[in-house]
């Protein structure tokens, strides 16, 4: 594949977005019947489903902790979610992201309420178009809320990137593949905490500061949409009752 032009003459991105513009975002809470909580999050072409089971007892007693619930998390890509068919076996990338996403969620879950239990977070990437791990954090956090797990805040994620020398918000797959840097960020806005931060690429100290600010601005927008989606779910429930 030829490297495409990522920033057009008019300063807009290959898909017509401004550098600081999110893709169309769709967030729905409570999409599954059997799970304790669930959410479907779409950032443009990226589509991620999260389901939460628990807090619950599990057969693997040796994993449990006496003073808190543990969180178990799997980030998994459906085999047709990527351009090349993904082998069904869990990749090293999926193992790393399962950990990184779990650690993004740990700070907001009030785990002390349910000692000796597990809260299971299952993430399925249905379609991948960049930013899957950050969409996964958003979806997981909403699924936790939907499951009634007590939380200090929502965590929402978004990736920023550097493409053709320009810092851009919410990178898609083309920008990720051909850009110079990709920096996934997740934040708990009300707590003022960054709980996921990775950088894939090289940035100067100054570029980093701008990139992080851009990410946090994007996170705020997604945070609002997430809260709306939660409200929608519970409003509807109330109306239906």
């Amino acid at each position: 594949m030829e490297r495409p032009k990522l920033i057009r003459e008019d300063g807009l991105r290959h898909d017509g977005r401004r550098p600081d513009e999110l893709r169309p975002t769709r967030i729905t809470v409570g999409v599954l019947n059997k799970a304790s909580g669930s959410a479907l999050v779409e950032y443009g072409g990226t589509k991620v489903l999260a389901a939460v089971y628990g807090p619950r007892e599990i057969p693997q007693k040796h994993l449990l902790l006496p003073d808190r619930a543990i969180i178990r998390c799997r980030y998994h890509m459906l085999s047709f979610s990527t351009h090349e068919r993904k082998s069904p076996a869990l990749s090293r990338r999926e193992i790393e992201l399962s950990k990184v996403i779990r650690e993004a969620l740990e700070p907001v879950v009030i785990s002390e309420t349910f000692p000796r239990t597990a809260i299971d977070v299952f993430i399925e990437v249905i379609n991948a178009d960049g930013g899957t791990r950050t969409a996964a954090v958003t979806a997981a956090s909403l699924a936790l809320a939907d499951a009634g797990v007590p939380m200090r805040d929502l965590v929402v994620g978004v990736a920023v990137g550097k493409v053709d020398g320009v810092l851009v918000l919410d990178v898609d797959e083309l920008e990720d593949m051909f850009g110079e840097a990709d920096m996934p960020v997740a934040a708990a806005p009300s707590l003022g905490l960054v709980t996921l931060l990775q950088l894939n690429g090289v940035l100067t100290r100054e570029e980093f500061d701008s990139a992080l600010k851009l990410a946090l601005r994007g996170a705020s927008q997604i945070y609002e949409k997430s809260r709306e989606a939660l409200r929608d779910k519970y409003m509807k429930v109330r109306v239906e009752e």
């Binding site: 769709r26 729905t28 999409v31 599954l32 019947n33 059997k34 799970a35 669930s38 479907l40 779409e42 072409g45 589509k47 489903l49 999260a50 389901a51 089971y53 619950r56 799997r74 998994h76 459906l78 085999s79 047709f80 979610s81 990527t82 351009h83 068919r85 069904p88 076996a89 299971d120 299952f122 399925e124 249905i126 379609n127 991948a128 178009d129």
Partner: protein, 290 residues
């Protein structure tokens, strides 16, 4: 090793006997008739990166199937045909007892039942999937994921598979002199060539009562199931007795009569839904209120 499973769902005794007693009277707790399926929704093209896909909701059961076409080598014993690989996975979003990991025996059985129904019927026209005769062919990967499990994953998967195949299109390929193949997925040249259509019809049995499309509670009380693959032209394209228990010869005959009727109806229903699709179907995350 295969072992007698623990019940996936402990249905309380009272509820279980209610289900059974109603079934004996030809009724179901959901208000459905014994031979009635739950409402079926089909969202074709649900997965953009797949070459064909569909999300299917059968009552509260949700399954997504995707088709990926890859250039590969033909099987040595069928050098002039494409190849087919069917996989199924029950991901842990679907039920509290599902563990992440490689497919268990139930997912493997489901995939193999669907694989056989397609393969034996030659539902896909494999002879048209040759790129370089004897050397390069299309390999059709069908992957099925159960996302939400409220019973009858086999039929939901079978419908999703049919819909995904009907939604699949072949990308353009160029073969240079050296025989190397270049795929251009941005251009689609034709739909996946199909010879026939097939779905499965699952008939459950409890205390000599038979009924179709069991939900999860009903599966828990059912003694056994017969999965019948039915072709558009009303033939039996596969059978699988699944679950402990057995059927009498007469029960099997009855089950087949039911299946052939219901199955051809399901195929018609799916085809008509697919034709009218694009319009107003409710994908995952946009539930219909009905």
């Amino acid at each position: 090793m295969s072992h007698t499973p623990s019940p996936e769902l402990i249905v309380p005794k009272l509820k279980a006997s209610t289900i059974v007693n109603m079934l004996k009277k030809g009724m179901r707790t959901s208000g459905r008739g014994p031979m009635e399926y739950r409402p079926i929704e089909i969202v074709p093209g649900y997965v953009r990166n797949a070459d064909g896909s569909a999300l299917v909701r059968l009552g509260n059961t949700v399954v997504v199937a995707g088709v990926k076409l890859e250039v590969g080598s033909p099987y040595p014993d069928a050098p002039d045909e494409g190849a087919l690989v069917v996989n199924a996975e029950f991901v842990p979003t679907a039920l509290s007892t599902f563990e992440p990991g490689p497919p268990d025996e139930n997912a493997i059985e489901l995939a193999r039942v669907i694989d056989r129904s397609l393969r034996e019927l030659k539902a896909i026209d494999m002879s048209k999937l040759v790129i370089v005769p004897g050397r390069r062919v299309w390999v059709v990967y069908i992957d099925i994921y159960a996302l939400d499990h409220d019973g009858n994953l086999v039929d939901a998967s079978s419908i999703a598979t049919l819909a995904a195949l009907m939604n699949t299109s072949l990308p353009r390929v160029d073969v240079d002199e050296s025989g190397s193949v270049r795929v251009d997925r941005s251009t689609r040249v034709s739909p996946l060539p199909m010879n026939n259509k097939v779905v499965t019809v699952t008939i459950a049995k409890v205390e000599n009562v038979m009924f179709v499309d069991p939900d999860l509670d009903e599966e828990s009380v059912a003694e056994t199931k017969l999965v019948v693959a039915v072709s558009e032209d009303r033939r039996i394209a596969g059978l699988q007795k699944s679950g402990a228990g057995g059927f009498t010869e007469a029960e099997i005959a009855t089950a087949l009569d039911i299946a052939l009727d219901v199955g051809t109806n399901l195929i018609r229903l799916a085809a008509s839904k697919l034709e009218s699709s694009g319009a107003g179907l409710t994908p995952l995350g946009e539930r219909s209120t009905s």
